[in-house]
């Protein structure tokens, strides 16, 4: 009894509220649509309720059922509110939408003449498709994760770069002589054999230690007969293993006819290859380096460090800005190529030193003594200091990136820090700290930061250990592995040269390693001048000799002395910084711009559209329900051949539990219900006094006109 008036009231309110803009057509719409929609809805609702009613109702269950009823009531109300869109038909809805939307095009479709209407329809469709296309373009652009670059150049107080200084010779010859004695004798004999036209006396070669030689011998390949090259061992005459019959031709051939090659064997000399060289210089240098590597790899690093140049020897004078410094300000690092290297301002233990002024006076000034007389003669042919500027806490790859400083000169290096800061994922494939690279960084043991050089070298060492089961002397060792040497790993030279030649290994390493996101290069402007000048030479050497050796004689020479000035240039940084080219703000503003430009729309328009879509769905649902209901009704009518129950009857059936429809009374007159007299409300609704409302004049006028139709 209570339910039905509530429904009607709610319904009317919802209708009125929602359709306020359509005042004039309001009534006609309801008239037109109400004819068949409203009963259908009610019917569906009631059928839903009737499914509930047959439950047995004890007292507590009745209580529950009451609560359920309340909830249901609420839901039904909500449903009704929702479904009360602006109309009950698609067309009505569309027209309403077009008239009231804030998007610019649709309104024109409604309020123009038929020709213009068609034009506007086409235009609106066109613009809508353009908008969607452009949106697609923008979203695609956004998802391509492009970056924009900003460049800044100038001077600011910056951390002075870490400066690594090495001597070109890794060891002092006087200290490693005992290790290299055999090898040097062998080398000299080899040189004699290659260069000298006559074989030296047999007794000279007797004294040689041939175990080193036999492992990887140098051979002469006589190519005077190109179809039958003759391979000659350099010491063939006293070992009698020569492939050719007579050793005589080997003595007379020169560089154009004979090539020096290195024989690399494995599996006890059963499988051999020759590594050819076009010049004897390279052949002997490579051979010597290989042998020396073999020797040094068996010596522990601590002892090797003692054989190199000490910091005290190398660094004679040091001045940073106005402050004096000494070799104690340098961190020592053993580098396999260059022996003891000294790093200034590495920033490992203490704060990095800043430099706040450009110019030589505020930079680092060094005087180095190379001790060229004590170089290992066959190992290094170039004399000078090796120098590298690098970032704090990064490993100095001196051999790859370093520069030379020549003895007897003053080398001035102006520095510009060229920094590239990149965005990581998803903008580019770079790595911030190397933790996502599938290569174990062997240089991490020194607490250095990730760099791609470190990664590639670690990768090579990994391959080396996998293939040759020993590590190469030039790269750090993973724990539990050993450096290669002839004694324990007789095949390593063969294995190593195979590995080094294989392109596949390099490709894999390059593929695995990622560049780091921050890339700093130190651009150097190098200039040189003779130092010390002839006039000042005398006293400078005196003073330096006195300081170093406490001797009054000159113990230094021009050949061994290097002066270095490292300083910031007037512009000391150039930073290239990446930032996201297209952020979400960019995307939204462009989406808005496009939508606004073509259709004058905004997000609210989208919401409007969504609302209309929901309304559409509702109409569809309602129609479907109505359709099924009408089908069922028709079927029921066909079965019972009676009139359908009236509204009042159905309402009564659910509100009054005691009520049972009089099934027996199938009278043709449905108006004979006794309740009809007691239910006056639907028949006579309360009057709507429009005159009591203060309405704007034009509305009333238009209403009046509407009436006149």
């Amino acid at each position: 009894m209570k339910l039905s008036p509530n429904w009607t009231e709610g319904e009317t309110r919802a209708q009125r509220g929602h359709r306020a803009p359509l005042k004039a057509s309001d009534r006609s719409v309801t008239r037109a649509s109400g004819a068949w929609e409203v009963p259908a809805v009610r019917g569906s609702k009631l059928s839903f309720l009737s499914w509930e009613t047959p439950l047995p109702a004890p007292s507590f269950r009745g209580c529950l059922a009451g609560a359920a009823m309340q909830v249901k009531k609420y839901l039904v109300k909500g449903l009704h509110r929702l479904q009360k869109g602006p109309g009950y038909t698609y067309k009505e809805l569309l027209v309403w939408y077009c008239d009231n939307t804030n998007t610019h095009g649709p309104k024109r479709i409604i309020c123009e003449g038929p020709k213009k209407k068609a034009m506007w329809f086409v235009l609106t469709l066109l613009f809508a498709s353009i908008v969607f296309w452009q949106w697609g373009v923008f979203i695609q652009t956004y998802l391509s994760w492009e970056v924009s670059v900003s460049l800044s150049i100038g001077f600011k107080t910056m951390d002075f770069p870490a400066v690594t200084i090495c001597n070109a010779s890794p060891f002092q010859y006087s200290k490693v002589k005992h290790l290299l004695k055999d090898l040097d004798q062998l080398m000299e004999a080899v040189l004699e054999r290659i260069v000298a036209p006559e074989p030296p006396g047999a007794n000279a070669t007797r004294a040689l230690n041939l175990t080193l030689w036999n492992h990887t011998p140098l051979v002469l390949i006589d190519e005077r007969n190109p179809h039958h090259p003759v391979v000659l061992d350099l010491f063939a005459d006293n070992r009698n293993v020569s492939a050719s019959g007579s050793p005589a031709p080997g003595r007379t051939c020169n560089a154009q006819q004979c090539k020096v090659a290195m024989r690399l064997c494995c599996h006890n000399g059963t499988v051999c290859t020759f590594r050819n060289f076009t010049s004897a210089t390279q052949a002997v240098t490579e051979w010597y380096t290989l042998q020396a590597t073999n020797i040094f790899s068996q010596v522990p690093t601590r002892e090797l460090a003692k054989m190199g140049y000490s910091g005290e020897q190398l660094i004679l004078a040091c001045l940073f800005g106005a402050e004096p410094c000494s070799y104690r300000n340098f961190t020592s690092l053993f580098h396999p190529d260059y022996g003891n290297c000294y790093i200034f301002n590495w920033g490992m233990a203490e704060q990095a030193l800043p430099s706040s002024n450009p110019g030589v006076e505020f930079g680092l000034k060094l005087i180095l003594d190379l001790g060229q007389e004590d170089y290992v003669p066959f190992l290094t042919s170039t004399a000078g200091a090796r120098l590298l500027l690098h970032e704090q806490r990064s490993y100095p790859f001196v051999k790859e990136e370093g520069i030379y400083a020549m003895s007897g000169t003053e080398t001035s290096i102006g520095v510009l820090v060229d920094k590239l800061e990149r965005k990581g994922k998803p903008y580019s494939q770079c790595t911030a700290n190397g933790s996502d690279v599938p290569v174990h960084n062997l240089y991490r043991g020194l607490n250095t930061s990730y760099s791609i050089q470190a990664c590639i070298r670690s990768c090579f060492q990994d391959h080396m250990i996998q293939n040759c089961s020993c590590g190469h002397y030039l790269y750090p060792l993973p724990p539990g592995e050993k450096y290669c040497n002839n004694r324990e790993f007789p095949d390593w030279v063969y294995c190593y040269s195979q590995l080094r030649r294989s392109l596949g290994q390099r490709e894999t390493c390059i593929g695995m390693c990622k560049e780091s996101c921050n890339d700093t290069q130190y651009k150097m402007t190098i200039s040189m001048a003779d130092w010390p000048s002839e006039a000042s030479e005398d006293w400078i050497f005196h003073v330096l000799s006195q300081e170093r050796d406490q001797s009054t004689n000159i113990t230094l020479s021009r050949k061994g002395i290097v002066k270095l000035n490292i300083y910031f240039q007037e512009f000391n940084y150039r930073t290239i910084e990446e930032s996201a080219a297209n952020n979400i703000v960019w995307l939204l503003s462009n989406l808005g711009g496009q939508f606004g430009f073509w259709m004058g729309g905004s997000v609210l328009c989208l919401i409007e559209f969504a609302e209309i879509v929901i309304d559409f769905l509702w109409i569809t649902v309602i129609r479907l329900v109505a359709f099924s209901k009408s089908l069922r009704q028709r079927r029921a009518q066909a079965r019972y051949a009676g009139p359908p129950p009236t509204v009042a009857e159905l309402v009564e059936a659910h509100t009054n539990f005691a009520f049972h429809p009089d099934t027996a009374n199938h009278g043709p007159n449905p108006g004979a219900y006794p309740d009809e007299q007691t239910l006056p409300i639907p028949g006579t609704p309360p009057p709507n006094y429009d005159s009591l409302r203060l309405q704007p004049l034009d509305v009333i006028e238009s209403d009046g006109e509407g009436d006149a139709i």
Partner: protein, 651 residues
Amino acid sequence: MAPGEKIKAKIKKNLPVRGPQAPSIKELMRWYCLKTNTHGCRRIVVSRGRLRRLLWILFTLTAVALIFWQCALLVLSFYTVSVSIKIHFQKLDFPAVTICNINPYKYSAVRPLLADLEQETRAALKTLYGFSEIESRKRRAAEPWSSAWEGTQPKFLNLIPLMVFNEGETSKATDFLTGQKRKVSGSIIHKAADVMHVQESKEVVGFQLCSNGTSHCAVYTFSSGVNAIQEWYKLHYMNIMAQVPLEKKINMSYSAEELVVTCFFDGVSCDARNFTLFHHPMYGNCYTFNNKNGTIHSTSMGGSEYGLQVILYINEEEYNPFLVSSTGAKVIVHRQDEYPFIEDVGTEIETAMATSIGMHLTESFKLGEPYSQCTEDGSDVPIDNIYNAAYSLQICLHSCFQTKMVERCGCAQYSQPLPPAANYCNYQQHPNWMYCYYELHQAFVHEQLGCQSVCREACSFKEWTLTTSLAQWPSVVSEKWLLRVLTWDQGQQIKKKLNKTDLAKLLIFYKDLNQRSIMESPANSVEMLLSNFGGQLGLWMSCSIVCIIEIIEVFFIDSLSIIARQQWQKAKKWWAQRQAPACPEAPRSLRGQDNPVLDIDDDLPTFTSALRLPPAPGAQVPGTPPPRYNTLRLERAFSNQLTDTQVPAES
């Protein structure tokens, strides 16, 4: 009745005037302002009060102006570029490396050709500076050059005489050959000396170039005799060498086996066969490593041992004393298809030194038209490329100069390639080419030939940034054995023991494999432009393209049609007035228009109007409209409610 149509009818009612049906422009404007999607206009019409209306007009106009301004800015900045810098770590192609000896030809081989010139140069030096013998080289002392002086008439000095000028009176010059003072006519061009001239000298040295036949002469003076003699020598040298066939010149120069003693690339030995010959007119035989014929080498590791290591043999004894005054080699790193401009760019290498050159690769891509003036392959530059290489700005400028040279002087300049159907200049065929060349060169430097404006830069280029450092090589302790082995390596090429000043070591390598690409991309696309337009329009007036169409529709089509209609009516009226005396109908129609009764269509037909009876005389029907009782609509509300329930019965 379908609800849509009802609504339509309703809307029709609501819109009192529509577009072109409006009776006047004012009405149309009013309608437009009320109904347009553009904000602002409506306010003008709706606002009450003159001040407020004025303000709104002002605001609207300001907004329109702002929109135009901002959109103009957007359009103007449309063709701008944004730059992106990318870094790739990858296997890099090694560039082509061209190495030349600074001295073009072995002096021993070329000397017979230059004997006369050398004699005259020495004579000039003797006369000008008063020293008789160059004692620096032993071998030259053996040449009996001074004895030949008396016999032959100096031909080079006659052709272009070297003169001493007094700084005070530049028109008077002393021809040092004859010792006579003579008057010099023509313009005097003073070339600044790059050797600093310290002492206050009153005398300057120069030479005079005249064009035969005419009396046009140009005098070139140099503040230093070093430059004067070198320039003078070079002119004659080019003249002589231009007549020598190419094959002979190649034979006179160094062979690859001589120049390259050892070669090592990426851990593998290489030799002279890896170098291709490239003959440069001023530098003789140059050799290019990793040229485009054959596979291009690439490096997959940075560092000196993975790059190119060569030891060069530079025989200082074979140097031409007047042509080159420095010793060493020149190296240039370039793209495989690029022409090496040895004389313009290039790094010099010192002997007895190891020069290590670390490279960084930077690639640049510029956007062509309409963003900048660059050209992709030079095909759209109206200059024929006379070089057998890919386009570059340098090539274009040189080609342009050479083409102009052939046009104006009738022969080609020696240090650049020959254009088709042209010969190198020499005295025999082109006696006054030098004057012409100097004139043309002057014009070229002062950008009077138009080459600089015609030539455009290339859109993409690779640049190798080089970090050069020097070290002593060979070191004191390794010198002995190294020179011995190198001598053996050189073998039969030279029959002497190598000295360390004859050798230079060169290392060229990638410092790391980071390749920087600097790419330009359009900063704006059409989409961006449109969306920016949309943003501006929306921000200031909530306008869209629909509004613009509206404006076009209303202001152009509708207004014009209204104006046309009014004009038509006016014309009709005027015509009617003109015809008035002839036509008796006119006043009647006028009366009919005045009569408001006939015009009321909306009114329900009354009895009188329905029967088309003449109105009652004295009846004041239109004057008293029926009262509109709003209260009567109360029952309409009722009827509305009633219809709701009555609907099923109706249908």
